[in-house]
């Protein structure tokens, strides 16, 4: 096995002697690449955003922006990283480097004030700049009601690409102008060319320092055997939750096992009666590959954390941590999803509704992994995801509600409602579902059901919202859905 190494701005560097929990951010900074900044160390501000070469959706390789503060450097063994320093083209000795087009736009349009968040913005912006389908297929207008679209530029730039970057100085207008001004990459642009080549392959890694190990196996079978031997091992994919634990709560583990590149966990198959989504596909990959095929998921993704997080986070991770305020469970509960759980002995399928057993607890056994999520087909035609939070981009839900309804001839034939943030686990709103099924989809039914829905779960009071507001929002979400469906019909 070759000693773990990482290619940064085209230069290969050994990872040793960094500690296994060392983040990409600290690794870069310790090597003098101080352009990458720490603003929050929990994947919320994007000051540490860097570009990573990953398997592409439309081309062999995509440049994907991730939060360097969350990813252990050992997870990038054999991988290629570009930082803000590496985006500029170095000129002859003594001359200033040539700015990258996104750097140029940011600089000349006043996109930087204090400059601390700027390298991160530049990297997130560069990732969107290189998105292969950006110019070819500008996103549809997101707000057709009044014919305007504030989240997409004429150049196809999706502002959600910057949803994980915070700036405290500019008020964002000049950054938006810069984003909407970038053109298409030139043919000779080396990073554009890199997209045409195969991505760096995942590399089996066994990186051990001071009795602490970071391990990546090539196959699921090897991984499951390892997990059987090391039941204390912590499994990570995008590290978007574990990274926060390491940084904020100083969690240190003896054995961390990476599963994000296991091919068996990265398949997406549409069968006749279900869709199977690999547990280690990133949310961005699922979003792009499904391309709207599951409308409820398409509604969820833009509201799920930020692009920087979605570029690392997986459904397996969101379900594996068992958080009651994860945003995917309410949606997946409404979709009646099941989980395919695998261990060294084989596989079993568990309905998501039976998966959670308590606060951050589930039926998943030690040594068992979520291999895939199955969504049964056909899908219910009326779906909605209502997330209640303080901020529209990149916030944690106070409550979240997923709806999937079959309404035929004005009568609710089937109702599935998933709730997050109202109990120790994500739950189904069973009483409300029962109150809707078989009833006309009328204001009367909905008002009665909304009263029931307010009483589902036991939401708490905290810094995000009062319990009173949380309860109220459950009922309001149903009223809103009803208003939206009837408004849509009337118009």
């Amino acid at each position: 096995m070759v000693a773990p190494r990482i290619t940064i701005n085209g230069e290969e560097t050994p990872i040793s002697p960094a500690a296994p929990q060392t983040t990409v951010l600290d690794f870069l900074r310790e090597r003098g690449l101080t352009g990458t900044k720490e603003g929050c160390a929990e994947g919320e501000c994007g000051a540490c955003s860097v570009l990573v070469a990953r398997p592409g959706v439309n081309k062999p390789t995509d440049w994907v922006a991730v939060n360097a503060c969350l990813v252990p450097v050992a997870a990038l063994d054999g991988q290629e990283v570009i930082t803000s320093e590496g985006l500029a083209t170095v000129g002859e000795a003594g001359t200033a480097p040539t700015l990258h087009p996104v750097q140029e736009e940011m600089a000349v349009r006043g996109g930087s004030q204090c400059g601390y968040c700027t390298p991160g913005f530049v990297c997130s912006m560069a990732a969107e700049y290189y998105r292969p389908d950006r110019c070819a297929h500008p996103e549809p207008e997101s707000d057709p009601a009044d014919g305007t679209d504030h989240e997409h530029g004429p150049n196809g730039f999706d502002l959600h690409a910057l949803s994980g970057n915070l700036c405290r100085c500019t008020g964002y207008r000049p950054i938006r102008d810069a984003a909407f001004a970038v053109g298409e990459p030139a043919d000779e642009d080396p990073l554009a060319q890199r997209r045409e080549q195969a991505p760096p392959a995942p590399v089996a890694t066994e990186y051990v320092q001071d009795d602490s190990a970071f391990v990546r196996k090539n196959t699921l079978a090897e991984t499951l055997r390892l997990l059987r031997e090391r039941p204390d091992a912590v499994v990570v994919a995008g590290s978007t939750d574990y990274g926060v634990e390491v940084n904020i709560r100083s969690r240190r583990e003896d054995c961390v096992v990476a599963i994000d590149r296991l091919p068996e966990l990265r398949e997406l198959r549409v069968e006749s009666d279900h869709i199977e989504i690999g547990a280690a596909l990133t949310l961005t990959e699922i979003e792009r590959r499904l391309d709207g095929e599951v409308p409820l998921l398409a509604e969820l993704f833009p509201q799920f954390a930020s692009r920087l997080i979605r570029n690392g986070a997986t459904l397996g991770g969101n379900l594996g941590t068992g958080s009651p305020i994860g945003d995917s469970p309410p949606v997946l509960l409404a979709l009646e999803a099941s989980l395919v759980l695998a261990d060294a002995d084989g596989e079993r399928v568990v309905p998501l509704a039976e998966y959670f057993t308590g606060y951050r607890q589930s039926v998943r056994r030690p040594g068992e992994l979520i291999r895939a999520v199955r969504i049964p087909l056909p899908l219910s035609p009326v779906t909605a995801f209502h997330k209640i939070a303080k901020r529209r981009f990149d916030d944690i839900s106070s409550v979240a509600v997923g709806f999937a309804l079959d309404i035929e001839d004005g009568v609710v034939r089937k109702a599935r409602i998933g709730l997050g943030g109202v109990a120790a686990t994500p739950i189904r709103a069973l009483a409300t579902e029962a109150a809707l099924e078989g009833k006309p989809w009328s204001a009367e039914t909905v008002e009665a059901a909304a009263r029931l829905l307010r009483g589902e779960g036991t939401p708490m009071d905290d810094h995000r919202a009062s319990s009173l507001y949380r309860s109220a929002m459950l009922g309001q979400s149903l009223l809103k859905l009803h208003a939206q469906t009837t408004e849509a019909v009337s118009s």
Partner: protein, 798 residues
């Protein structure tokens, strides 16, 4: 036109250009304090020992277990302080306290070979505490009568007579939250000791001279043994005016005791739990209007949540009182101020420095009272503007200069924003949409420029011209993203008459310019620009004499424009570089220190009267919002701003300040929610929203969808450098229009004319409750004295 404000031919000021460091920003090569660590050998890392209780007396502090942790080099405690154990200027802020005054108070610091070792060492320090009762909320402190510091009282006219003359009198209360600075770069410093034992500190500080002063008193050495440098800050917003000093002193003490460089950088959690924030306030008020809605009298008491020590709470409170009038003529006023002492972090300067809090009180009053007076809020505000030619003074006795600009910017916003048409469109939209409402509100600002304390209104500079014609400028101001350095280079190039590329700027250091004031109060460009201009004028005068001889003309007939000296009416030219070289050989001094003091200021803090401000900055903003009646969630659809920056020194920089200030103000008023554990549980006093995941700043989703900023034209300010006005703070307060628009949108869900009480911050939840209140409201009561009182008092209980 005054000498100070007059611009020469082809000035470099006024040219729109990006930030002088933009190139380094975007390439990641701009250095911030903590980036220096990797360039420094043998650095020790300092980590705080925070005690997680709101209040208690330390009965034992055992450092021995920490020293047993591998890599721990030393633990710093109060016993190590050779000088004064105090981090502030009021001597109420022990650097190493015996008494824990807030949850997360640092009582000792551990120095380690690595950050990890220092962290583990800090966790190993044992602290025993005798817990004491704590006051966590502002309301608790007010009820307990827990106050500290000054108790200003501002009296103007005859308040009792004013109320007697009022047709409508309303009373109310309003408590509103503070704000976390959330500069992207947390507090950081790197201290080193030279061969003579002198200390060199690189610090992320807005006030290097005061950092120097506090480090020197902690170390017990004279100021000339301490040098502080600030390369640049990753944002400051007032949070690095007073707060960096103690932290820098810890690093300096560590360096002094170990002989090795010592670095600290607070992580976000430490920064948020240890450093002060914008003061939240409580206001109790009584206001009288005449039959036409003109303010007759205001009686108010403002209580600022000072936190555990005074820090800058007294001047913050003074500025709050001085801004309660905002743009409105209040003939009779009595406004009292108090500073509550609570067991929370010591609140400090934050962009606007109390001004926003004072102005928010009056804007809230007008927003609440307008429906009860039967007036459109826009109309009520306009009726009360200061009027030109009336000799009106502020409640603290300063004549209001340029009062016509209040109406000018307002009218321009009305025109630019097409307000009349849009109000009709909004009415039509609201009639058609039972579950979604829009509203449009305009608010204006008047913000006094200068430090209230007259002595601080001075600035210094040092300008060096080298033999090759290149120019290096130093000044006392610090760069935190506001573009001060860009403006200062433009000022120097303008005064010397040379192209901008001839001018370079050196990092701010206390050994270049002494006794500087904080880069604060929006005064950076005024004070330091005045000083640079002064230094450059001295140099220019000397060079003109040299040029005159060379060109065979009288010195007063020579001009240097774009790097070429010419005599009037002559074709003869002398290039700048040749001129400088000639001057050197003629033994003409090519360096000068410049100085500036703001003229015409006086302030009597005791009587709370005087003319503390050189001038006022004006602006107005119109904001349209849309509120979802199901959830209270909202969007900012459009913002139109006209703002007065005098004649802009650097338009792109100024527009950036206006936009950024506005969005930051909108964050304070809508989204940013400081929460403490006020329960009696084990975590009492804990700051709950101590991370980016729980404390939400505006992101892209909060920026106005349409955002039009215009700088007021033909706006020369006679009293400031090259006719400009300060811009750092005032635009933050334009965000009142967001809050008032939300109030009006919530009201639109209720019967016409309903008065809405809106919490601050107006989070979606707060807006939802306001919507519910409006929906539940009966038809509005007719406004008269008694009804008004009853209704407003009922509101105040909410």
């Amino acid at each position: 036109m005054s000498h100070l404000s007059e611009r020469p031919e082809k000035p470099v000021v006024g040219v729109s250009m990006p930030h002088e460091s933009a190139f380094q920003h975007v390439t990641g090569t701009a250095l911030y304090t903590d980036d220096l660590v990797q360039r420094t050998k043998d650095v020790l890392h300092a980590y705080p020992v925070q005690v997680m209780k709101a209040h208690g007396r330390i009965t034992a502090l055992r450092t021995k277990p920490a020293l047993a942790v591998p890599g721990v080099v030393r633990v710093l405690t109060g016993a190590d302080v050779p000088g004064v154990n105090d981090a502030g200027m009021k001597h109420d802020e022990p650097l190493f306290p015996d008494e824990v005054m807030f949850h997360g108070h640092a009582v000792a610091w551990v120095l380690g070979e690595t950050l990890e070792a220092a962290r583990l060492g800090a966790a190993a320090v044992e602290v025993e505490l005798e817990e004491l009762p704590s006051l966590v909320s502002l309301r608790d402190a007010i009820e307990a009568g827990s106050y500290h510091g000054a108790q200003p009282l501002m009296v103007h006219g005859d308040v009792d007579a004013g109320f007697a003359d009022s047709a409508h009198v309303f009373t109310g209360e309003f408590q509103f939250a503070g704000q976390e600075h959330f500069y992207l770069e947390t507090h950081a410093a790197l201290a080193q000791v030279d061969e003579n034992g002198q200390v060199f500190i690189q610090s992320s500080t807005q006030h290097p001279s005061e950092t120097q002063e506090i480090v020197s008193h902690v170390l017990g050495v004279p100021a000339h043994e301490v040098t502080v440098q600030c390369l640049r800050m990753g944002g400051g917003f007032g949070g690095k005016e007073m707060q960096p000093h103690g932290f820098a002193a810890v690093a300096a003490l560590g360096a002094k005791l170990t002989g090795r460089p010592v670095r600290f950088r607070l992580n976000r959690t430490q920064d948020m739990t240890m450093s002060g924030k914008r003061h939240g306030f409580h206001a109790k008020w009584k206001i009288g209007f005449d039959a036409e809605g003109r303010i007759q009298a205001l009686d108010a008491t403002l209580v600022a949540d000072g936190g555990w020590s005074l820090d800058l709470s007294e001047p913050v409170l003074a500025r709050a009182l001085c801004h309660i009038d905002n743009t409105y003529w209040i003939p009779n006023a009595r406004v009292a101020g108090r500073i509550a002492k609570t067991n929370t972090v010591s609140n400090t300067a934050f962009r606007g420095f109390g001004g926003p809090q004072g102005m928010l009180v009056i804007e809230d009053i007008l927003g609440r009272c307008a429906p009860q007076l039967g007036l459109d809020p826009m109309d009520l505000r306009e009726r009360n503007f200061y009027q030109p030619g009336q000799g009106q003074t502020t409640p603290y006795g300063q004549p209001v200069t340029q009062p016509e600009r209040i109406s000018t910017v307002w009218q321009q916003v009305l025109e630019n924003g097409g307000i009349a048409d849009r109000k009709r469109e909004i009415a039509a939209f609201n009639a058609a949409h039972p579950n979604t409402k829009r509203a449009l509100a305009i608010t204006g600002i008047k913000f006094g420029i200068s430090f209230n304390l007259t002595a601080f209104n001075q600035g210094g500079a040092l300008v060096l011209i080298y033999k090759d014609g290149s120019v290096l400028i130093n000044h006392g101001g610090t760069e935190m993203g506001q573009g001060l350095h860009t403006k200062m280079m433009q000022v120097a190039a303008t005064t010397l008459g040379i192209p901008l590329h001839k001018v370079r700027l050196a990092p701010t250091r206390t050994d270049k310019v002494p006794n500087t004031s904080a880069t604060a109060a929006s005064s950076g460009a005024d004070l330091n620009g005045g000083a640079i201009k002064n230094a450059c004028e001295q140099l220019r005068e000397r060079l003109l004499q040299v040029a005159a001889t060379q060109l065979g003309a009288n010195g007063s007939d020579v001009r240097i424009v774009e790097g070429v000296a010419r005599a009037l009416g002559s074709d003869k030219e002398l290039a700048w570089d040749d001129l400088v070289r000639t001057a050197y050989f003629q033994r003409v001094q090519l360096s000068a220190s410049g100085f500036y003091r703001t003229e015409g200021l006086h302030w009597d803090a005791k009587s709370f009267r005087g003319s503390p401000f050189k001038y006022f900055a004006y602006g107005a903003a119109a904001t349209e919002v849309e509120v979802d009646g199901f959830t209270g969630a909202y969007r900012i659809r459009r913002v139109d701003i006209v703002h007065d920056v005098g004649e802009s020194l650097s338009p792109m920089i100024d527009i950036g300040q206006v936009e950024g200030g506005f969005v930051q103000g909108a964050g304070w008023l809508t989204l940013e929610d400081l929460r403490w554990d006020t329960s009696d549980g084990p975590n009492r006093g804990r700051f709950l929203t101590q991370a980016a995941s729980t404390y939400k700043l505006p992101s892209f989703s909060e920026m106005p969808e349409e955002f039009n900023v215009t700088l007021l034209e033909n706006a020369t300010e006679e009293g400031a450098v090259y006719g400009s006005k300060a811009v750092g703070e005032p635009p933050l307060m334009l965000a009142f229009s967001v809050r008032e628009a939300l109030r009006q949108a919530a009201a639109a869900f209720g019967p016409s004319g309903v008065s809405v009480d809106l919490a601050s911050p107006a989070t979606p939840e707060a807006v939802f409750w306001a919507v519910q209140e409006a929906r539940a409201a009966d038809a509005p009561k007719t406004a008269d004295v008694h009804d008004g009182k009853v209704h407003a008092e009922a509101l105040s209980g909410a």
